[in-house]
Amino acid sequence: MGANKILRIARREYVSTAMTKGFIIGAFIVPLIIMAIIPVIIWLTMRAKGPAVEGEVAIIDRSGVVASAIAENLTPESIARRQAEDVLRAQEKISEEFAVPAQSTDQKALVETTTNLALGSAPNLRVVTLDSADDPEAEKAPILEAAKRRVADGDQTTRVALIVVSPDAVHRDDAAPGNPFGGYELFVRTKLDDRVIDAIRYAASEAIREARYASSGLNRAELDALWKVEQHTREVTEQGERASSEAVTQMLPLGFMILMMISVMVGGQYLLTTTIEEKSSRVIEVLLSAVSPMQLMAGKIFGQMCVGLTLLVVYSGLGIFGLISAARADLVEPRAVVLLLIFFLLAYLMIASLLAAVGSAVNELREAQSLQTPVMMLIMLPYMLWLPISRDPNSGLALVLSFVPPAGPFVMMMRVASTDPPPALQILLCIAVNAIGAYACLWAAAKIFRVGLLMHGKAPNYKTLLTWIRMA
């Protein structure tokens, strides 16, 4: 009889929460839209980098040999080509890491297309080579003046940068090996686009480097060949060898924990709001004419648990699907998935019962804020300590926190999903300790719930809640 009523309450709770437009849009459609938008945004940023910066770059070349090379490197075409090469290099790294099949297109053609794309937004700089004897101080003045005049980009006579190359940048006075070369100084307008500064720096450094190679009689291509060491890190798995998955391995514990956190928080928050709603709309006593407060609380907690589980299953399903399509499914052990469910359950019971108690004690959502803040802090703790715990999953900090409800399940989840999972005994102990924690939370919440439901008026503080626990 009692179980029937609990299921009824749970069903209403689930239907009125998860089967609403708001929930479906918030939980599924918005993430889908975001996922769909991200590639578009990346494409847009690659394609249009805002209005191309125009301006004048002055060079005082005291070494006397690099000015023309710098100018050559600063043409829009060279800048665009370099940007395109950077993008392709990054893409290559990603596709290697996540085993996305590399495009078989001709690499050269690809560089060509991407360059053309980048060309539209590349800075259009007019390079002026000044006399090497000119005074740098005097030549900085136009930069300051341009900034003062607030001349919009687009005027090629606006000086945005001054490069002063030192005399010994290419030829050293004392040519003993190991002696340092001189370099260059770069003066730029304030608030100059960082990509422009980057392009100028690259142009100057490359030009000087080229000149040094030439003057030392070294072969650039040969040096590059000497410099580059080809390496491939392969993971040896039962399915064969493949590129290593460091990034995935690093993110996995965080992913597991965030998944748990989202599911627990969504269920818990809905529980809080529906409880407050039942109280403020005075439907509560009508319900209590049919069910006992304990049946009501049990039904509500169970119903919202199903809401949390829905999210957990859908999101983790998507995650696992993603790993399968990246041929990385073996990184998630079945044991971790089972433990995910167990830890979710424990964490949810603790958080949900505390939030149900808070919801039953207050009259409106606003009053709940101050009471629920400490509960939120407890949940945020493992999130804030993500880095130290995932770096060193068996440290003293991680060990202790595993046994502190309600942070324990989150911490243990990260440790289980990490590269160095804890021994089974610790996992079992964590489950036991947190199960006791969950029981204690439910027990205290039940007492507060029973008293709080019919209390209207002044919002209680923690002291009042303690009195209620002793009273009921």
Binding site: S16, E285, V286, L288, S289, S292
Partner: protein, 323 residues
């Protein structure tokens, strides 16, 4: 027939405030009981204890033969004073939910919900959201929710508050019908005349204690007090001197209406004559006391002068909620 409800020496306190004390009560099965008393007297607290929504600090309690109403909630219909609906839920869905919680589910429940909505003249709102209903309509929905499972015991806490005269009459007919069906019906009200009109048995609660527990007829016959009802010809008259007349227990009333209650041994015609001499009178009559008068009398005997103020104005208009 046994007793539907038994309370023995029940006591309940909230902090240092005593809400109910020394409450003994027997409600036989099939009877129609009215709980009356001013706001804050302890009616709702008593009802909540009967419903096992709150628990007594001391004393014994039995409902439908069980020690707690929790075990027999499906046999009890309860319309609380603090009542509401799920605002976003459709009326039909809300009633089916409530019916299911009380053990009425399946296809039969849907038919019952429709029938009942028709009967309270709300047939067309089944698919509307509860928040779209007026307060009076919501109250009828809540009443349907409380009796849809045909309970043996129906407890209605202030069932008439917030209703217009037409709906008040409808509500009255509906719960009298529950009584005819054989259910034990208890309702509370702070409006004495409603109890007087409906109940065969009255329980009067004042300051957490039961002060009266009898049939209406017995109460009336036991009460030997009579009242001289006076309508003054003009305002601004001091009724003070009237208390000095032999046989007058006390005077009361407000505005142009004065009430002079007589002691048992008073000579009524003589008092009427004397009253007419001392104050300008438009009309004057002797009448039997009503429940309100009896309550004032009892409370006054208990040395409580505040009762009259507590009751002043209660008879005329609606006062919502317990203080």
């Amino acid at each position: 027939m046994g007793d539907a409800i038994v309370l023995e020496n029940v006591r309940k306190t909230f902090g240092d405030k005593v809400a109910v004390e020394g409450m003994d009560l027997r409600v036989p099965q099939g009877s129609l009981y009215g709980f009356i008393g001013p706001n804050g007297a302890g009616k709702t607290t008593t009802i909540r204890m009967i419903m096992s929504i709150i628990f007594p600090d001391a004393g014994r309690l039995s409902v439908l033969g069980k020690a707690s109403a929790v075990e027999s909630k499906d046999r009890i219909g309860y319309l609380p004073e603090e009542r509401g609906v799920y605002r976003k839920m459709k009326v039909g869905a809300f009633l089916r939910h409530m019916a299911a919680l009380k053990g009425v589910s399946g296809p039969a429940a849907g038919g019952k919900v429709r029938d009942w909505l028709e009967r309270v003249a709300l047939g067309e709102v089944e698919r509307k959201k509860c928040e779209e209903l007026s307060k009076g309509m919501q109250q009828k929905v809540q009443f349907v929710a409380s009796i849809i499972h045909e309970p043996e015991l129906v407890i209605l806490d202030e069932p008439f508050s917030g209703l217009d005269p037409v709906n008040r009459r409808l509500m009255r007919d509906l719960f009298l019908e529950q009584h005819k069906r054989g259910a034990t019906v208890i309702f509370s009200t702070h409006q004495m005349h409603q109890a007087e009109e409906l109940c065969d048995h009255i329980v009067m609660i004042h300051r957490g204690r039961k002060v009266l527990d009898d049939t209406l007829d017995a109460i009336r016959s036991q009460s030997d007090s009579r009242i001289v009802a006076v309508r003054l010809a003009r305002g601004g008259v001091d009724p003070g001197p009237l208390s000095a007349i032999a046989g007058v227990r006390h005077t009361g009333g407000a505005g142009l209406e004065l009430e002079v209650s007589l002691s048992p041994e008073a000579d009524a015609p003589r008092v009427i004559a004397e009253v007419a001499q001392r104050v300008p009178v438009e009309s004057i009559a002797l009448r039997r006391p009503n429940l309100e008068d009896i309550f004032v009398e009892i409370a006054t005997d208990a040395g409580d002068a505040s009762v009259r103020e507590a009751l002043a104005g209660v008879g005329a208009g609606e006062i919502e909620g317990e203080a």
